[in-house]
C-alpha cells in the first residue's frame, strides 16, 4: 500500500509517495532528495552522524520512520548557510578545527544547534561535553568541537540580544 506524506525540508514543502513504510527520514533525505550531507554512520542510533532537527529538536534520523513524521519541519546541514555566509556553528567548527575527516561533522553541527536551542549547557565545557555525548568523533576532534560550540553559542547569544534590544 502506498502512503503519501509531506514534509518541509529546509524551508521547502516536499511531497512523497512511500511504497514501503520502512523508509527512515535518513534514507528519505539521502536517497529521495539527494541531501547527502546527513550521514549514515551506524544506522542504529549510536553515533549521531545522522542528527537533524525535526520541529526544532535534534533527533537521530536513522531511527525515525518517515511515514510517522508526516507534516514535520526538517532542518538539515544543507539548510544552514545563506549563500556563502556560513551559519555561526559552521564557521566556528572551521575556526577551531572541530573536525579531521569530516564524516561526523554535519551531525555534530546539527546537534550543536539543537543543543544551543535547548539552552541547558551554559558556558560550562563539562556540560557541553555531556550535552554533545550523542555525537561520536572517531578522529577525536572533541577538544575543537567543544571550543567551537562554546564560541558559536556565545555569538548566537549576542546576536539574539542585539535583536531583542
Amino acid at each position: 500500500m502506498n502512503h503519501s506524506i509531506s514534509l518541509t525540508v529546509n524551508g521547502a514543502r516536499r511531497d512523497f509517495v512511500l511504497d514501503d513504510p520502512r523508509v527512515t527520514l535518513l534514507d528519505l533525505l539521502r536517497e529521495r532528495l539527494h541531501l547527502t550531507g546527513t550521514k549514515k554512520g551506524c544506522d542504529r542510533g549510536q553515533c549521531g552522524a545522522c542528527t537533524i532537527l525535526v520541529d526544532g529538536k535534534r533527533i537521530n534520523s536513522c531511527l525515525a520512520l518517515a511515514i510517522s513524521h508526516d507534516g514535520a519541519d526538517i532542518l538539515t546541514i544543507e539548510g544552514l548557510a545563506r549563500g556563502d555566509q556560513l551559519h555561526p556553528v559552521q564557521a566556528a567548527f572551521i575556526a577551531h578545527d572541530g573536525f579531521q575527516c569530516g564524516f561526523c561533522t554535519p551531525g555534530q553541527i546539527m546537534s550543536a544547534i539543537g543543543m544551543i536551542r535547548e539552552g541547558q549547557a551554559g558556558n560550562d565545557p563539562e556540560r557541553v561535553r555531556e550535552c554533545m555525548s550523542g555525537n561520536l568523533c572517531r578522529c577525536g576532534a572533541y577538544v575543537g568541537i567543544v571550543d567551537a560550540v562554546l564560541e558559536a553559542q556565545g555569538q548566537m547569544d549576542e546576536t539574539n540580544q542585539r535583536r531583542s534590544a
Binding site: 513504510p21 542528527t51 529538536k57 531511527l63 539543537g114 535547548e118 560550562d124 555525548s133
Partner: protein, 351 residues
C-alpha cells in the same frame, strides 16, 4: 528489515484493537523498536503508530496531588519541565543520565518502560537466547556476562532491564495506567515487569493490545524532593547504560529518617525496589552505619550469574553513596549534571 504493514489509528480504542492482532506492535518514537527491527531481533508484521493519539502527551497535576504523565511525553520534555524536576529531582536526573540528547528528544515515557534488554546475546541473532527464541537456551550464561543480573535471575535468562527512568519511578511507587481490550486498568510499576523464571520472553504483565497511556506518581512522591538523588555508574562518562545505578529518596524530620525509598538499576530484569533496606532506615538517623546496613539488606539474596560478582559489592557501595548524597540534600540546580565517576570535574556538578 522485514516488511510490515503500517496503520495509524485515530483513537486509543482503535489502537488497542489493531495491536491485539497477532504480530502487531505499537510504534511510538521507535528509538528502540527500529533498532531491534533493523537487527532482525523484532520482526513485527504490523506497526500501530500511536504518536498521533490525542491527549497522551500531557503532564498534569490531579486534584489529589498525584502527577499524571502521558505515555507520549518525550523524555527530554519531562526532564526539563521545571516543576517536574523540582518535585521529583531523582526522576529528572535519571532521565538525563539515559541515552543521548537526540534519543531523549524522541523517546517517550511509555516506550522507556517497555524498552528491551541490551544483553548482547539477545541482540545477536546467531546466539541462543530464551528471550528472543523461547527454549533455544542462553549463551549469556557461559559468555561475556560481567554486566548481567545479580538479583532475580534464572538459568533461563540473566539479562537486565536497561532503563534509568524506571529506577526512581519504582522507588516512588509509580502506577502504570493501561488501556486494554477489557478497558482501563492499572498496575504498579513494580508489578509491570516480570522476573524471567522459566519464561523470560514474557517481560511484562501486559496482554496483547494493552497500551500504556500514562504513568502516575502518587501524592506522597513529592515528599522526598528535598533529599532525592539518582546515581549511575557507567563504563564511560556519558551515553552508556548503567553497570549499576541507585535511586535514593529520604524524608528527614528532626534529624531522623521518617521514610526512605530505594531502588537499584542494572542488577535485575526489572527495576529493583529494595524494601528491606527502606525498612531498616525508617526512624533512624541518616548515618554511615545506617546506610551500610541498608546496603547489605538491599543486596540480600544477590548472587553472581557469571563474571559479575563485583557488581554485588559495587551495588552496595552505590547504595551507600546514593543515600549519603540524598541525605546531604538535593542540589540547588536540578537536573544536576548526570552522575559519572569519570567526569573531569568532581564535586557539585557530578555525583
Amino acid at each position: 528489515m522485514k516488511p510490515f504493514d503500517y496503520v495509524r489509528p485515530a483513537t486509543v480504542t482503535e489502537a488497542v484493537a489493531a495491536a491485539a492482532q497477532p504480530g502487531a506492535v505499537f510504534l511510538a518514537a521507535g528509538t528502540n523498536l527500529l533498532d531491534l527491527m533493523k537487527g532482525g531481533i523484532s520482526r513485527p508484521d504490523r506497526l500501530v503508530d500511536v504518536t498521533r493519539l490525542d491527549g497522551l502527551d500531557q503532564i498534569e497535576t490531579l486534584a489529589d496531588g498525584s502527577l499524571r504523565i502521558g505515555a507520549l511525553v518525550r523524555n527530554a520534555d519531562l526532564a526539563h519541565d521545571a516543576d517536574f524536576a523540582r518535585s521529583y529531582p531523582a526522576v529528572a536526573e535519571a532521565l538525563l543520565s539515559g541515552a543521548s540528547a537526540q534519543l531523549r528528544n524522541a523517546a517517550t515515557v511509555g516506550g522507556n518502560l517497555l524498552q528491551r534488554t541490551r544483553c548482547a546475546y539477545f541482540y545477536d541473532t546467531a546466539s541462543r537466547c530464551n528471550k528472543r527464541a523461547p527454549g533455544s537456551g542462553c549463551d549469556a550464561l557461559q559468555g561475556e556476562n560481567r554486566g548481567h543480573a545479580v538479583l532475580g535471575w534464572s538459568e533461563s535468562c540473566i539479562a537486565t532491564h536497561p532503563s534509568d527512568f524506571c529506577v526512581p519511578l519504582v522507588a516512588l511507587d509509580a502506577i502504570v495506567e493501561i488501556e486494554g481490550r477489557g478497558g482501563r486498568r492499572e498496575v504498579t510499576l513494580d508489578e509491570l515487569h516480570r522476573l524471567p523464571g522459566d519464561a523470560p520472553e514474557r517481560e511484562t504483565v501486559l496482554e496483547p493490545g494493552d497500551l500504556i497511556v500514562a504513568v502516575r506518581l502518587p501524592p506522597a512522591a513529592r515528599g522526598f524532593a528535598a533529599h532525592a538523588r539518582y546515581l549511575k555508574v557507567r563504563e564511560r562518562t556519558s551515553y552508556a547504560f548503567a553497570v549499576v545505578s541507585a535511586a535514593a529518596a529520604l524524608r528527614i524530620e528532626n534529624g531522623r529518617i521518617a521514610q526512605a525509598r530505594l531502588a537499584l538499576g542494572g542488577v535485575a530484569a526489572k527495576p529493583w525496589r529494595a524494601r528491606a533496606a527502606e525498612d531498616v532506615l525508617k526512624g533512624v538517623a541518616p548515618t554511615a552505619d545506617a546506610f551500610q546496613e541498608a546496603a547489605l539488606r538491599a543486596l540480600e539474596g544477590a548472587k553472581p550469574s557469571g563474571d559479575n560478582a563485583f557488581k554485588i559489592e559495587l551495588a552496595r557501595r552505590i547504595v551507600v553513596r546514593a543515600l549519603t548524597l540524598a541525605a546531604a540534600g538535593t542540589p540547588a540546580r536540578i537536573p544536576a549534571l548526570p552522575a559519572s565517576p569519570f567526569a573531569s570535574t568532581s564535586g557539585a556538578l557530578h555525583v
